[in-house]
């Protein structure tokens, strides 16, 4: 749980902010707003009621604040009191935060107002208090009272951030030429103020630049387990060792915000809804139109589940049952096993929480591919010095022996035991054990692959030279390339490049970026992703340049060739090349002799019972296009029968497989037409109800199987993309 926070933004709206300074395309105000909107939308995005924000307009045309009677406080408007920001407030601010026509208004007075706002809201409660002042410092300031302000800021523990348009900043490396005198004076005063109250003083350019650097949401560490780490069994043996520990998450996937499903509300015409999803511009009037509290014309989509069971008496053999009529159980194969409410626990393996060391393994022999899970860290409870010392001895012993521990871990009663590896970690002021789950026997899949450094041939020979093995030149070139593309000193100040701390989840921050952008700019296209999000999608530029020679050498030695799509196309009459059994027996010749299969004549009937093999054999022996068309026509007729005589969906599987085979074979033969003609005819009959009535489910299966027309992109003479899409539609 993050702490409560209260931030007041003071935004300079003076007429000078409407200028375009120092060759920028944007006005100074628009530029400043990039920063302000980013901050405000970030606050909205985190959705916390305890993250309060307020906005004060400085040098506004009007005046509206607690002290608006006094002349010193003129042209200062409290646009947003401290509170949780939501979309309506953002919309309102968007209307109000515009360049004014005045130059008057004192930044220091605005500070005082901001301080008052914070004091009034936060009182003495636990808050992180902050004021952000964004100004071009071009209007007169009463800087003689700064001592009091400093004292007040310190007293109330308020952080001050001052950002200026084109302020000089030696650290960032910016200096404005021919600065006007008032601004120079104000800058100096504000800088002094920040120094006095330990605030931050910076130039806007840097702040805007840094918007691209994502902020990582801190999560307060919460222990997921708190008990003993044991070696031996304290209940049975007096020689057991037990240390009080706590376990915290170390890595945990932070996912991008997920989109919810909506539909246009039924009381809205489609056009209206589209309009009003983007209501930022029309502000007030849209708000009234939302009876459900959302004014975007969308209704949430929910999932309703229905349950079907077999019932011989019901039409179609199935009937709907209500959730209440069902009870819980399991599937054992295709058998339902009912387990009554009271027996629910019978399948649970009885365990007690514990963290029990099984033994120790050699770190250097530990294979990293065994890592199964996210990681956790194990420390002792704060304040338990003796446990800390005890755990430390284990950590140091493991470290010195280059060993890891393997332990059995049960998080809480009746949960599954897991086996974890424990690795020591020693830092100057921090020590812990990291744990990661290891696989069980059932988690290992016994797939086998041939060796990569030698080839064992069909005839049993072991080869060291083979087209699948690298030669000396390739090995050497690869070795050189790998060495030259080293990242270990390529980072900042000669450190490691792309350490986890510097890499940000592209999807998470990309989604956050576009949501924030759209909230403020509803009618603009989403902006390009920040550079940092795609920085690691390719090797660093300087590395590419540096290693081109090594890379060229590998490319030459490797001689990799893309398989041309044409090479896969087959030719007619390749019956002789047809796959043969291990003995090389010419089965094709046997087939040709088989009287049941046409006895040598090519034109023969496909047996519906053996349709797919016989179709393939016809294709293998085809001499010309008419042969192929004949084969496809015959299989097409069989497929139609499968659909026509299908009871329910009983024949669909076969029919879909038949189509798939035909499509694949014709694709390989580069004869799109032969397949397309058949499937077109089939579609007409299916949708026309000519194949035994309603067959929508069959067409659905064709569609999800992507068994529509062969497309031009797949093979010669195929259909166009649009035609292909249209073809799969059910209507």
């Amino acid at each position: 749980m993050a702490s409560k926070e209260a931030t007041v933004y003071i935004v300079d709206c003076g007429s000078t902010m409407g200028e375009r300074s120092n060759g920028r395309q944007q006005t100074n105000h628009d530029w400043a707003m990039e920063y302000i909107w980013d901050k405000l939308t970030s606050t909205v995005a985190n959705g916390r009621k305890t993250a309060l924000a307020g906005v004060v307009g400085l040098r506004t045309d009007g005046t509206e604040n607690l002290m608006d009677g006094e002349e010193d406080y003129a042209h200062i408007t409290v646009l947003q009191e401290l509170g949780q920001l939501l979309m309506p407030q953002l919309r309102k601010l968007r209307e109000e935060l515009v360049v004014s026509s005045t130059e008057a208004g004192d930044a220091i007075s605005a500070l005082v107002i901001a301080i008052q706002m914070i004091v009034a809201t936060c009182k003495k409660l636990q808050y992180q208090r902050r004021i952000v002042l964004l100004t071009d410092a071009r209007s007169a300031m009463q800087a003689d009272d700064l001592g009091n302000i400093t004292a007040k800021l310190k007293e109330d523990n308020i952080d001050l951030v001052v950002l200026g348009v084109d302020f000089d900043d030696a650290d960032y490396g910016y200096k404005e030429e021919s600065k006007d005198a008032t601004k120079a004076e104000n800058e100096a005063a504000l800088n002094q103020l920040c120094e006095d109250c330990n605030g931050v003083f910076g130039t806007l350019a840097q702040a805007v630049d840094e918007l691209g650097i994502p902020r990582v949401k801190p999560v307060k560490p919460v222990p997921s387990y708190r008990s003993m780490l044991t070696l031996g069994n304290p209940e049975e043996y007096e020689t057991a060792l037990a240390i009080d520990i706590e376990r915290y998450p170390k890595t945990m996937r932070a996912s991008a915000q997920s989109a919810s499903k909506f539909v246009i509300r039924s009381d809205m015409a489609a056009g209206e809804a589209t309009q009003s999803t983007q209501t930022m511009g029309n502000g007030e009037e849209a708000e009234g139109a939302a009876p459900n509290g959302t004014n975007d014309g969308l209704a949430a989509v929910k999932t309703a589940r229905t349950y079907l069971v077999n019932d011989e008496d019901a039409p179609g053999g199935k009937k709907d049952v209500d959730r209440d009529e069902l009870s819980k159980g399991y599937e054992y194969g295709r058998t339902a096993v009912h387990i009554s409410e009271s027996d629910q626990n019978v399948t649970l393996y009885e365990t007690k929480p514990g963290f029990d060391i099984i033994g120790f393994v050699d770190k250097n022999q530990y294979e990293r591919y065994l890592d199964m899970s996210r990681s956790n860290l194990i420390v002792t409870q704060r304040g338990n010095e003796k446990a800390s010392m005890a755990l430390s001895s284990l950590i140091h012993a493991l470290y010195e022996l280059e060993s890891y521990a393997v332990a059995r871990f049960v998080r809480k009663e009746m949960t599954e035991p897991r086996i974890v590896v424990l690795a020591p970690n020693i830092e100057p002021d921090f020590e812990c054990l990291y744990d990661l789950e290891l696989p069980f026997a059932e988690d290992v899949r016994g797939y086998r692959f041939p060796p990569l450094d030698r080839v064992v041939t069909v005839s049993g020979k072991i080869l060291k030279v083979h087209r699948n093995l690298p030669n000396e030149e390739l090995l050497d070139a690869m070795s050189e390339l790998v060495d030259s593309m080293d990242l270990s000193t390529l980072g900042e100040e000669g450190g490691e490049y792309a350490v986890p701390d510097e890499t940000y989840s592209p999807m998470l921050h990309r989604i956050a970026q576009v949501i924030k952008h759209r909230a403020i700019h509803p009618n603009e296209a989403p902006p390009a992703p920040y550079e940092i999000l795609t920085r690691f999608s390719r090797p660093p530029d300087n590395l590419i340049a540096k290693t081109q020679r090594e890379l060229d050498r590998v490319i030459k030695a490797a001689d990799v060739k893309k398989v041309p799509p044409k090479a896969r196309a087959r030719r007619y009459g390749r019956g002789k090349e047809a796959p043969k059994p291990l003995s090389d027996l010419d089965v094709g010749a046997l087939l040709a002799l088989d009287p049941k299969r046409g006895g040598g004549k090519l034109k023969r009937k496909i047996d519906p019972q053996n349709a797919i093999p016989e179709f393939k054999q016809l294709v293998q022996r085809a001499e010309d296009l008419p042969d192929l068309q004949d084969a496809c026509g015959q299989l097409g007729a069989v497929i139609e029968d499968w659909v026509r005589f299908s009871v329910g969906d009983s024949g669909y599987g076969r029919a879909v497989e038949g189509l798939r085979v035909m499509r694949e074979e014709m694709g390989e033969m580069e004869e799109a037409g032969a397949y397309n003609d058949v499937v077109k005819g089939l579609r007409e009959k299916v949708l026309g109800g000519a194949l035994g009535g309603e067959r929508a489910l069959f067409w659905y299966k064709v569609r999800v199987g992507r068994l529509g027309l062969l497309l031009g992109s797949e093979c010669e003479g195929g259909a166009g993309e649009e035609e292909g899409r249209e073809f799969l539609r059910a209507k």
Partner: protein, 671 residues
């Protein structure tokens, strides 16, 4: 066909992307295995020199094959619950084909001496039972397992299998016929009959069915199975005829011997042959472009070699009022609009993000563009030494990848060169990784894995590269504050001895030795319920540490370590004599010294939490409980304490107080 046929890689896909369902194409990635078991006089003969003490060695080859099928069926219900299996006996006196033959006109007469024992389907409890009674009940076996007097036509057997696959598993990506026989030369006198069989075998091949031959030899009768007589015309190899081509991934199975000379029974050797074939290899990603440098692209296939097997989730079961046969209720979801409850078509659905109490929406095209970070690729951006890969940098199981020549010729040699280099120099590659279209991009370490083989020469871990998606800064949690007391050298020395005493065999973790006890228990119970057997009493749990051994080998050293700890800690306390520690509420408290050892003598060295610091100790909580003052505790403390006890730490304060109260009511006697 089962209703829940999942298209493509659905079940393998543990990424939480909102992927479009029909992304994956059509073939169901499921496996159908049909056992065809020869029932001949010779297959029914028990080995002569068998050892009567070992029941396994007394089995006739047919029964051994049935036992093997039985074991596989039980195992696949657990590991591949959607896959199909069937058993066809051939050469039997009796004949039987699929139920409902009458109406389709395919009577049992069509396939004489073929007996379809279990039709190809997802197995049901009844199938398991039937099979079990056949292998365990000799009478039943004697009735069915009678060899036919006339020779069964192999062409017919193969066509029968063809029909079973065609009707029951028409669109399975993997369909396999496991043929178990000891007859290497059927139809010895009829060339025509053999040729017909070859033709039917070609039909099966064209249908997409692979024949796996499990040949049996009889050394006791001086008989060795010879494939070249007949079966080489039946079995097709996946590899081209080039003699220098690499050996296929699965090698031919060596004839199993019907006698138990070397202590391995026929059953065992069949089981291990079948096990090596039982899981069809499925690629997670086919032909992923692997870019080693700009302009150097090869292709790889990705596989899941480690995946956490979880117990099945509960299903909804329907108990019909008029029958005692429970049914699985098949659920289906429809989308409905929240406002009017009308059902909604998929095309109507829009995606919108909740923001500031409202929604922010994008068009489908915009969203696709926003989420698009480029096409699927594994692109190396550079290399680092393996030592720069912190142990904690992990989020989920790794993906294995292996070269494929399908897109780029030469992929294997380039991959091999890279693999050898990385292994030799203990380096890893850092790569930008988009496994599938529109998948969330990740930064991954590519680490080399060496081939490992068992002592018998069986490959245990294949050679290849492993893709390990690394955590981003966003995925790394901050560490808690601790007060570190570093162990003095004598204490570390004492611990070192303990560690050295308790090395696991070969100092490695071998997952094969540790079955998941919860999973095993779950399926034993489920099986017992399904087959209406008695529930097992206790489970075997190989994950439990061997306490007795630990006591024997390291007990003395632990006691020694405990003494050093007491001594060193006293010394440390003296060094920190003025150690006054302010607690959270500002009060100062002197930390108490732990009693030298609890339980007196060389008691268990429990190091208990002390007062102070953050968090609430058991003592505090028990105090509060005793004084009936739990409701004065902070919610956060209650929650943390409950979680620490492995209890549920959620709910309103009153609920939390209840939970704590309940804990003490039952646990008063504990320490």
């Amino acid at each position: 066909m089962s209703e829940s046929s999942n298209y493509g890689h659905g079940e393998e896909d543990d990424d939480d992307e909102e992927e479009v369902a029909d992304e994956a194409g059509y073939k169901t990635s499921k496996d159908a295995v049909l056992f065809a078991i020869d029932v001949s006089e010779s297959m029914l003969t028990k080995p002569e020199d068998s050892n009567p003490k070992k029941r396994d060695t007394m089995l006739s080859p047919t029964v051994a094959a049935l036992k093997c099928a039985y074991a596989l069926m039980q195992q696949r219900i657990i590991s591949n619950p959607n896959d199909m299996m069937g058993i066809l006996l051939f050469g039997t006196e009796k004949s039987k084909f699929q139920a409902g033959d009458a109406e389709t006109g395919r009577g049992g007469l069509q396939y004489p001496h073929c007996y379809l024992l279990t039709d190809l389907d997802v197995p049901a409890a009844a199938d398991v039972k039937q099979l079990r009674s056949l292998v365990e009940d000799d009478d039943e076996a004697a009735d069915l397992l009678v060899a036919s007097k006339e020779e069964v036509s192999m062409a017919n057997v193969l066509f029968c299998a063809n029909q079973i696959f065609t009707t029951k598993a028409p669109n399975f990506s993997s369909r396999r016929l496991f043929l178990v026989t000891d007859n290497d030369y059927p139809h010895a006198s009829s060339r025509d009959a053999r040729n017909s069989a070859a033709v039917r075998a070609k039909d099966l091949y064209d249908l997409g069915v692979t024949i796996e031959l499990f040949p049996i030899s009889h050394p006791d009768r001086g008989y060795t199975f010879d494939r070249s007589k007949f079966y080489n015309d039946i079995v097709y190899s996946a590899t081209p005829s080039d003699p220098d081509a690499p050996m296929p991934l699965t090698v031919d199975i060596k004839p199993a011997s019907s006698t138990a000379k070397d202590g391995i029974s026929l059953l065992q050797s069949l089981l291990s042959s079948v096990a090596s074939r039982s899981a069809p290899r499925r690629a997670l990603v086919n032909n992923l472009p692997f870019e080693i440098g700009p302009g150097l692209k090869i292709s790889v296939k990705c596989f899941i070699l480690f995946k956490r097997q979880e117990p099945k989730r509960t299903s909804y079961i329907y108990l019909p009022p008029d029958s005692d046969k429970p049914q699985i209720a098949v659920g289906s979801s429809t989308l409905v609009a929240d406002d009017t409850a009308r059902s909604v078509e998929k095309v109507e659905v829009r995606r919108a993000y909740k923001f500031g109490g409202e929604t922010i929406s994008f068009t489908v095209e915009e969203l696709a563009k926003i989420k698009h970070f480029g096409d699927p690729v594994l692109r190396i951006i550079g290399f680092k030494p393996m030592s720069m890969l912190p142990i904690w940098a992990n989020l989920k199981p790794l993906t294995f990848c292996y070269p494929s020549e399908e897109e780029f010729i030469g992929s294997t040699r380039v991959f091999s060169a890279l693999h050898q280099k990385l292994l030799k120099d203990k380096k890893m590659a850092l790569a930008w990784y988009i496994p599938r279209k529109n998948a969330t991009p990740a930064l991954a370490a590519i680490i080399p894995g060496a081939e490992s083989r068992s002592e018998e020469g069986e490959q245990q871990v294949p050679p290849g590269l492993w893709i390990k998606p690394l955590p981003f800064a966003d995925d790394i949690r901050q560490a808690p504050d601790i007060n570190l007391v570093t162990a003095p050298d004598p204490l570390t020395d004492a611990m070192r001895v303990i560690v050295q005493q308790l090395q696991l065999p070969k100092a490695i973790y071998d997952p094969r030795k540790y079955p998941n006890p919860s999973l095993q228990w779950f399926y034993r119970i489920l099986q017992a319920l399904a087959l209406e057997e008695d529930l097992p009493e206790a489970a075997e749990d190989k994950t439990l540490p061997r306490w007795k051994q630990i006591h024997k080998r390291a007990g003395g050293y632990v006691v020694g370590w405990g003494e050093v700890l007491d001594e060193q800690f006293r010394e440390w306390q003296r060094g920190h004599e003025k150690h006054i520690k302010p607690t959270a509420n500002g009060a100062a408290k002197r930390t108490k010294a732990e009693p030298a050892s609890s339980g007196g003598g060389a008691g268990a060295k429990k190091v208990k939490a002390e007062d102070g610091g953050e968090g609430v100790t058991d003592a505090d909580m028990r105090d509060a409980y005793a004084k009936d003052a739990l409701s004065k505790s902070l919610v956060a403390d209650l929650k943390a304490w409950l979680v620490g006890k492995g209890l549920k730490g959620v709910g309103k304060k009153a609920e939390l107080v209840d939970a704590v109260t309940k804990y003490f009511e039952t646990k008063m006697d504990v320490d």
